[in-house]
Each structure stands twice: as structure tokens, then as C-alpha cells.
Amino acid sequence: MTQPSLIEIRDAIRSGQTSSREYVQTTLQRIEQLEHRLGMLISHDAERALAQAEQIDAKIARGEPVGELAGVPILIKDNLCTRFGTTTAGSRILENYRAPYDAHVVERLQQAGAVIVGKTNLDEFAMGSSTENSAFKPTRNPWDLERVPGGSSGGSAAAVAAGVVAGTLGSDTGGSIRQPAAFCGVCGLKPTYGRVSRYGLLAYGSSLDQIGPFARNVRDLALLLHTIAGKDHRDSTSVDEPVPDYVAALDRPLRRMRIGYAEEYFGEGLDPEVRAAVEAALDVYRAAGAEVVPVHLPHMKYAIACYYVVAVAEASSNLARYDGVHYGHRTARPKDYLDVYCSSRQEGFGAEVRRRIMLGTYALSSGYYDAYYLKALKVRTLIRQDFEHAFADVDVIASPTTPTPAVRIGEKTSDPLAMYLMDIYTVSVNLAGIPGLSIPCGFTRAGLPIGLQLMGSHFAEEKLLRIAHEYQSRTDWHTKSPALAQP
């Protein structure tokens, strides 16, 4: 059985065919049934969600106007600030933190009438590729409970795959939306840097971070992006570009599509089954009349090294704010003032966060700044220029989202560098600030989902979504659900 899409749920509620309360109750039942097996959520509030659903139902019954997502249950990643409940970022240091304000995207979702039922699990401060770095629990992959869901937005991806909700929000600094979308067999979009305000997103790598949606199909991604995109004066990096009607655009097929194929994404380390599925997806495009043309991204092989220097440098600066003074965990018996900082941070941060803070501190420290940080910023320019040259010739570039399907829980945790290399195909999109998405394009023989990544030029989300939709109108991979998603 196919799970209902976000838009189907929205339409059923709006027409009075099914109430918001019923959908929210279904979501709560699924949480009840699945949470202990999957570990998708850090917190949820049934009472609050049901009360909101009833308000929406009453409005609809009275014939009052309601928003684009009225009554639709949604989950958001727990690094997005909410006035309700806690905002933990998956960290002990914020275990009991209650934010005094809502993130911009939370305001937007609530204005649209969405019912935010709960907050999803993540790698601590979004640092990780498997959701095993959550201080609270790992999330498991709904297709195989012995495997990771990807990360860092693993809870948001798993919840969509498991049929708990039809849409979620995550954040993507180096692949944290696209990689878990690929591992969990759902759709995930990282918008252009500046497309969505990050006001209220707990910062990790500020020149890379972007908030984006997960859903089961491209049409739902388009609706969620339309809801959250646009300029917000509280994030001065958000850009005042018009927000087109991404959903309506999907019904205007492109007359001609030029799809770039970069051999740099198909080299050593790529799993043969993943390669075969992505090449088959390119054949689907060829059959749709698209031209698949070679492009070159000669600096791709430096993307991981470049990304991790930039990301950890920015992280070390951003995470200096967790000091045990203003909010968050404070050590019980500090020896002195300095120890408030050192022991609170040591106790509050997990190992991967501390490794990244230390790496970043090192890369920015006197004597190493030019060798690591400045060098990485220059290589970043070359990576960005590679994309600019490619997009002069093609509409999108297609690649695998990940080199392998989902790995086993514990497989990469003892070797940080091996974990970092799982992001090899996703990080360059963040370095260049361009949009990228992942959609399902097949399964391995063992039944694990495979993701197709499509990348576009700055603010070309409309075209990117139209090209992704074209694929979904010709294939049905995105309609497959794991066995445990069946009610």
C-alpha cells in the first residue's frame, strides 16, 4: 500500500474528508508502535499536537481560511529552536534547554497551519553521517534495523520512510539531508545557501548550513520549500530572491533537458550496485528525451579535505557559545571560573563534537591558519568555479548521493575519517552553495535503497525540482515503503 503524500493529506483535511485529528492520531500511533525500534524522536507532545489539530478542524468546519499545510502532521529536526518543548541538538549540553524563541521555519510552518508533533533525532550538533553521534540514542534504518539511517538528519529521514509523517525538516551542512534521504529511500532537498532563513537553527558551519525538507515525493518537497523559503531580516545571509510557485512549476515539463555526468562521481570506492542504479536513472532521462553530456569537476577529489577544514573551523567558533554560563549544562563543582568552561564543555559535548572543535581550533590557530584554513578557502573557490563552468553547459548534474548503501550500525564509529568519507559526493554542493537533492532510484539485491543526487546552479530549485519530478513521473521507486511502515 502506498503511503499518502503530504498534499493528499492536506487536501483530505481541507475538504473535510478526514480530520486533522485523525491524521495526528495516526502519527501518534505510529510513534507508539515504532519509536522503541527506530529511535526517530527526541521529544514529542501528543496533547499539544491534538489540541492544534482540533483548532484546525474547527476552523475548517466554520469555513474559515486556513494555510497551505493546515492540519498536516510534521516533524522537525531537534536543532531547530521552538518555544515549546526542548531544543537539544542531540547533545547533553542542551539536554534540558528551552529556547526563548521559534526558528523562522517553525514560524512559517505554524503560519501555514502545520501541526509540529515532535522533534527528530540527529547526530550531536548535526556532526555526523549516521545519527550514531546522538547523545541520547542511535536512530535505526527502517529498511534494515541493523543499519544506520544516515545522518545527521537521520531521525527526519527515518520518520518519513517509516510512514510516521509525510514531511519533515532537516538541515544539511555537508550532506545531512541528502545522505539520510538516500539511505532511507526518501526524497530530501538542500536548498541554495541563502534560500531559507537559518534564524533559530543551531549553527554548525555557518557558511555551509542550510535547512531543507524531506518527503516521499518531489511535489511534497516543492510545497515544503515554498512554505519555508524567502528573505528574513533576522538572517542577513538569506537572500531577497523571488520565491516561485515550486509546486505549480512541476506541471510545466521542460522542453529540453541537459544533464551533466561527471566521471569524478563514478570512480574508485563506488559500490557497483549503486553505480548500476544511477546509470539506469540516466537511461530513464535519455528515454525522456534528455541529453546526458559529460562535465568535468577536476577539484572534486579535494572536496572532503576542503569541507572538513572549513566546517570544523566554523564549528569551533560557533560552539564557543556553549560555555556553561548563559544556558545549557554547567559542571557541578567547578574549581574556578575557567573550569566552568572546560569541565562544562568536556561533560556536555560528545567525542565527535570535541574532536571537531579541536580540529577547528588547530586549523585556525596561530601558525596553522594559512596552511589549513586559508588554503581550504582557496580550494573552495576552485570547487565553486568547477560547478560554474559545468552549469554554463548543463541544467543539472546527476550523481550517486552516496558511494554505498546504508552501512551497519557501529561499522564506522571507531574511525572518524572513514565516517567523513561517506560524505564524498555531497559536501561539494555545500562548499559551492548550490542546491542539491536526493531521490530514490532503486534498491540493492539486499533490499537497501539507493539515492540519485541532482545538483543545480544557485537559486535554480525550480528547474531542479522539475527535472526530479520528471524522473518520478516515469518511475515508482519513491512509492516503495519498508515492511514496518505498513499499518
Binding site: V325, M358, L417, G433
Partner: protein, 100 residues
């Protein structure tokens, strides 16, 4: 020969305001060295005359009207403080110790 030894890990930990255990210092020396060695491959790239990119978009200074807006009340701002004293964040004594 690791890129960074245990004393270097301790120095970075201090700059990072962290208190790693001895076991962790040994583990991190190996792990951080492996990552830094991987990062060294950036040196293969010729970046002569390449300007650095700190920001992916050509963002310029963003001006807006200087209008007073709302802000958190002292109670809201202090609500999550581990310790407070009236309308202040409370910390252990800062003076009467060697500067750091």
C-alpha cells in the same frame, strides 16, 4: 610519526576549553593526526592567485532600516541560565586567580 603528539593535543584542548582524560588525549592524537594527514592533500592544489571563498554567494553588506524591534525581557534571557543572581548571570569568582 603522528602529525600532532599528546602535548599538542593538550595545548589545543586548552585553547578549545576542554578537559580531555589521558586516554582520550592518546586516542585523539591518533585520530586527529589521521584527519590532518588527509587534509594535507590540499597542498597538491596550486592556488597561486586564487582568491579565498569565505561565502558561496557574493553577499555584500546588508542594510535595513534602523527601527527598534522587540527583544527578550531579562527574565526570558535568564530563564535557561544555570545560575542567576537578580538580573545577572552568576559565575564563580573571576578575580583572585592567575590570569589565563
Amino acid at each position: 610519526m603522528p602529525k600532532i603528539d599528546e602535548s599538542e593535543v593538550r595545548r589545543i584542548a586548552h585553547l578549545s576549553r576542554l578537559n580531555p582524560t589521558d586516554d582520550e588525549v592518546r586516542l585523539f592524537a591518533d585520530q586527529l593526526s589521521a584527519v590532518l594527514e588527509y587534509m594535507e592533500q590540499l597542498n597538491e592544489v596550486d592556488t597561486t592567485d586564487v582568491p579565498p571563498t569565505a561565502h558561496a554567494l557574493p553577499v555584500r553588506n546588508v542594510f535595513r532600516d534602523d527601527e527598534p524591534g522587540g527583544c527578550l525581557t531579562p527574565d526570558e534571557a535568564l530563564a535557561a541560565a544555570p545560575a542567576r543572581d537578580g538580573s545577572f548571570f552568576a559565575v564563580p569568582k573571576v578575580l583572585e586567580q592567575d590570569s589565563v
